[in-house]
Amino acid sequence: MEVGGLTTSSEKLERIRSDFPILGKTINGHELAYLDNAATAQKPRSVLDRINEYYTSENANVHRGVHTLSQTATETYEAARNRIATFLGASSPREIVFTRGTTEAINLVASSMGVSGIGQGDEIVVSEMEHHSNIVPWQLLCERTGATMRVVPVSEAGELEYDEYQASLNERTRLVALVHVSNSLGSINPVRRIISDAHSLDIPVLLDGAQATPHMRVNVSEIDVDFYCVSSHKMFGPTGFGVLYGKEALLEALPPYQGGGDMIEEVDFAGTTFNELPHKFEAGTPHIAGAIGFAAAIDYLESVGFDWISEQESDLLTYATGRLRDIEGLRIVGEAKQKASVISFLLGNSHPYDVGTVLDKMGIAVRTGHHCTQPLMKRYGIPGTVRASLAFYNTRGEIDRLVSGLKKASSLFS
């Protein structure tokens, strides 16, 4: 029954909210309405407990000791890698390289590709909606190698100009590096088509998945992507941890990224041989608690269920979009047909900084500014936006508070 269904859903929402201790916090005298999930997501108690337990009773360095604690830590750490590999649909844990985050994952590929995979006259395809972390590493690579970047434009609605994308691919293209879901606009790019079009010309594709994986299940084998970059902290896991998925043959072909302990097989001043995948890319003591905490976050997300997550978020997005559109003078920036639960907007002529400051006074956390996508802001001719980014634990009530906060801001800045 409809009513029964709703009750169940709202009960589930209530239970889920109680999994996140920070959501009960008071900010500036108001209950926190956390609408800045695209910047970082909050952590459920199970993740916090798992990290605490690791440091309390399991901590030891991995891949190094013969002692029991080190053996156990290594097993737990590698079990996390298996968990992540299965979750992402990788063929083997050898394809899962641990990094500090999405940014480092992209930098790893850019840096290692620069050694031999690219040269003068070669091209890398990116788009106008990239985060700076999927622009600057390629710019640096181009400066080092004499390669150039081709930038695919974005339509007024915030969608990739697909014809332009196709036209940008040619025999000099060495890599397509695109965002899966735009952090500023929420646009979901048609990645299957993007990948199959690139592959028809034997061009590998790297996707920045930082904003996709918190909202949807991504299976790297199904979409046949070559490199996929993931952030733990945006997926309700710890900060400072992320994953580079890479097809085994491609990772094998890339030279190491950083040098140090753990990434070697044998070191001699005459020369060093390197460890196998994925350890060849993981120099130094890794973020062990990060890996274990991230695996716990994945367990949590699966227990909530991606079907429920997408149902909940799509309801919130529709509700929020409708309510925001009703505010006089409010302009939504980015109205792609396929959108994740991210809404960027401008309130009349008010500066995003002013709007964000007033909302903060009412306990509502949003992001303001250019969202590390300055070229995209330039494309729209705006200095920045206010961005509300929603997670499955947000409520319609919080959207209502956002709306009334914006009305107050409107009256202040009129």
Binding site: H351, P352, T357, K361, L412
Partner: protein
């Protein structure tokens, strides 16, 4: 005469004015209104050379030296930032440069506005304040050396 008021006296006046508002909305409204009353910056100064970049909002600052004293005109693209500029300039303008260079800004605590001057806010105000003090220190140094 206003100019004869010291920085501390002007700060006390502001604290007094703000104290009639017990609601943050009213305090912000007043702040925004103060910003709207700021005299416009001269066109030549609304350029990149005089722009203080903040990640969130921008500030333009025009120094106006007057013998041993200093005044400023300033502008911002954000209204709250502009209001804070108005508050700072009310206290600083027309004051002896050496006093501006070393002024005590603890009155902002009483206005409950100090958070806005934090460098983490990235609104350009923290950098503007540094720039104001630098201009003031330069004028103070010059007037000392020509004594």
């Amino acid at each position: 005469m206003i100019a004869s008021n010291t920085i501390a006296e002007k700060a006390a006046q502001l604290v007094d004015e703000f104290s009639i508002f017990d609601d943050w909305m009213d305090r912000y409204q007043y702040l925004i209104d103060l910003g709207k009353e700021l005299p416009a910056i001269d066109d030549d100064y609304r350029s990149d050379d005089y722009k203080i970049r903040g990640c969130q909002s921008q500030v333009w600052l025009q120094p106006i030296p007057q013998n041993d004293s200093i005044s400023f005109k300033a502008d911002s693209d954000a209204q709250i930032t502009k209001g804070l500029i108005a508050v700072l300039l009310r206290v600083f303008n027309g004051q002896p440069a050496r006093e501006v260079a070393s002024a005590d800004l603890s009155f902002l605590d009483d206005l409950e506005l100090k958070e806005h001057l934090s460098p983490t806010r990235k609104n350009g105000l923290d950098s503007m304040l540094k720039q104001i003090r630098m201009y003031a220190a330069a004028i103070a140094a010059k007037s000392t050396s020509t004594l």
